[in-house]
Symmetry: C2
Subunit: 138 residues, 2 copies
């Protein structure tokens, strides 16, 4: 296990943190709720408390290792930070998540913030729709 990433983030290399980080890095699914992470770890035989999963994900977020999203549906969704900021388009039927980057939108947002007198700190953009697959069914 590679504890250097945790150390670099200023976090002690504890077993739960290592397990969660490893899981996030190796998972084929990019966007996961705390519960998702918790269950997946349980199923692979790892003993980690749910409270710890929540705590650690929040710490990872603060450390910039992970990004939190608020998709519709109430629960926070996390994904490994991988450099480039991006936004999301989600299927309201099957839950599929796609990512995109649009410089025009990014620029426009900055412009709007400036016009309104705000110093922009963040933004969130979600497009909802029915994905190609789900359109076929029916």
């Amino acid at each position: 296990m590679d504890s250097s990433e945790l150390k670099r983030a200023g976090l002690k290399a504890t077993l739960p943190r290592l397990k969660i980080l490893e899981f996030l890095e190796n998972s084929k699914v990019r966007h996961m709720s705390a519960e998702d992470v918790y269950k997946a770890l349980l199923e692979s035989g790892e003993e980690v408390g749910l409270a710890t999963v929540y705590r650690v994900l929040t710490q990872f977020e603060a450390a910039g290792l992970v990004v939190r999203h608020h998709f519709e549906g109430g629960q926070s969704v996390f994904e490994m930070e991988h450099g480039e900021h991006h936004d999301h388009i989600l299927c309201v039927r099957c839950g599929k998540v796609d990512e995109f980057v649009d410089e025009t939108i990014e620029e426009r947002q900055k412009k709007i913030a400036k016009e309104k007198g705000y110093s922009m700190t963040d933004h969130s953009l979600y497009i909802y729709g029915v994905c190609g697959e789900c359109q076929k069914e029916e």
Copy 2:
């Protein structure tokens, strides 16, 4: 009290619904949580149950009288529907909410949905920042 708006929406003109609708229409604050509405009604001496406020706001939403937003912070926020779709920019310090419309962004979103093969149903865009007022303090 004007019950025609409710009738038109296919809703019985009950007292709680009339009170809530009247309050939303006359409130100077445009964006309010269910709790906000509930408390405001209590303070003005109106007896309405919290469960009813939640229920009625959801019905108003389904009827298109009201729009629901998911601002950061967990609770749903409602506002009277007034024709034009718009997005929001919010102050992370004082909670101020401003509205804007940007056709370029709207178009881009449609384009992205099409490119990704989605039939777009909805979208949500929030810009977060520090408003002019709050920038002065400090």
